[in-house]
């Protein structure tokens, strides 16, 4: 008779209760898994529950398969201007979004001035300060058209852009401000001649310069339509008083932001969680 009672008790199962949805988390756990709540003193549930077996005891598979991700993932562009952009990524985790942000800032290549060959600088701006300012100048060119320049390579038309700056302020004339529109692009390469110690060199051959351009960069079709210029021609580089002169050549190469921040293509990039406002129906509020 005791066995009969035991059998009846075994047939009752908690999963038969009507209000436990099968295959889904109960609503409070789903809220904890997918939302960061901002409470009065600090946000809670900020760590995302990524472990595939986190809800294994409830029989729910937390692992995300690629097909589920592909179906649920959406991108919505909010704003797209020439210089900035804002878009929403829905269905992606904060870890991947943060990796994208880091890559945007540090690992996208751009062109920036690296070597500055100064022939004459009698201004009050020191050589190194002038070179530093030139390095930070943004150049309007597509970096995918160029290759990286490593230490063993010679600078040629495929990995270097050459600019020239020659300004002087004559005696008796007022002070001038040197803006970036004075920086001229030299599509044929460097014009500064290297001093060769070989006295028996052929005088009719071309003098050796600091770059070895095989052909002019002007003939590349992209540059015919958009000549390489600095992006903002009204940036001030230096100021000259009467009798002062600056003559220099700047070589720009390809690099990434990790090496030096001048190669970072973005002013900055950031992400935040999409805010969701839930208004609690129970509270009454006064409308003014």
């Amino acid at each position: 008779m005791a066995e009969g009672v035991g059998e009846e008790k075994k047939k009752f199962s908690i999963w038969d209760l009507p209000d436990v949805p099968m295959g889904q988390l109960p609503p409070h756990l789903e809220l904890q898994r997918s939302r960061v709540s901002c409470n009065k003193d600090a946000p809670i549930h900020t760590e995302s529950i990524q472990y595939s077996g986190a809800y294994a005891s409830m029989g729910i598979d937390n692992s995300s398969r690629l097909d589920r991700f592909s179906n649920n993932f959406r991108v919505e562009v909010v704003q797209l201007n020439k210089d900035d952009m804002e878009f929403d990524m829905i269905g992606i985790d904060a870890a991947i979004a943060n990796s994208f942000r880091g890559i945007l800032i540090a690992e996208l290549p751009t062109m920036a001035i690296e070597k500055v060959l100064i022939a004459n600088n009698t201004s009050i701006i020191q050589d190194e300060v002038l070179a530093h300012r030139l390095g930070l100048v943004p150049i309007r060119v597509d970096p995918r058209l160029f290759e990286y320049l490593s230490e063993n390579d010679q600078p040629n038309e495929k990995n270097t852009i050459v600019f020239k700056l020659h300004v002087q302020c004559k005696r008796g004339s007022p002070r001038i401000t040197v803006k970036l529109d004075a920086l001229k692009w030299l599509p044929n390469g460097s014009e500064l001649v290297k001093e060769t110690r070989n006295a028996t060199s052929d005088s009719s051959s071309k003098p050796e310069t600091y770059t070895y351009f095989g052909c002019s960069q002007e003939i590349i079709p992209e540059f015919v339509k958009n000549p390489i210029i600095p992006k903002y021609p009204d940036i001030i580089i230096a100021k000259l008083g009467p009798g002062q002169e600056i003559e220099l050549e700047a070589h720009a190469v390809k690099g990434i932001g990790k090496t030096h921040a001048k190669w970072s293509p973005v002013a900055t990039a950031w992400y935040r969680m999409l805010p969701e406002l839930r208004i609690d129906c129970n509270c009454r509020f006064l409308l003014f």
């Binding site: 595939s52 993932f73 991108v75």
Partner: protein, 117 residues
């Protein structure tokens, strides 16, 4: 570099040089999604040195295979993100072009009416 034991290859620590949180956090996320993984995490032994240690413990599969699969999944995910992103940009540009055209046609029709008068 992989630190593990020759007898038990289901748990190992992988030491990656010249890396930082960017890839380590993303790989840790995809590793966690894999149901074969019992434990995974990453640490940076010293912030001045660009080195990352990723620890993977699995339910029996060799740890390096699981890591390779996780990297592959990450690559596919990024590829999908890229194509979705490109498509969203194109759609946005197309819808904006349509809006710009509508505004232009309204403006020009307004000008014509003013000139005729």
């Amino acid at each position: 570099m992989e630190h593990g034991s020759f007898t038990d290859n289901s748990a190992a620590t992988f030491s990656l040089t010249d890396e930082d949180h960017t890839i380590a956090n993303a790989v840790r996320f995809t590793l966690n999604q894999d149901p074969r993984v019992t434990f995974c995490g990453y640490s940076i032994p010293h912030p001045s040195e660009a080195r990352v240690n990723i620890r993977v413990q699995t339910t029996g599969d060799p740890a390096r295979e699981v890591l390779k699969d996780a990297c592959q999944n990450l690559m596919l995910m990024c590829r999908h993100v890229r194509s979705t992103f490109d498509k969203a940009i194109e759609d946005f540009k197309a819808s904006n072009a349509v809006k710009a055209m509508k505004i232009d046609s309204q403006d020009s029709s307004g000008d014509d009416s003013e000139e005729s008068e």
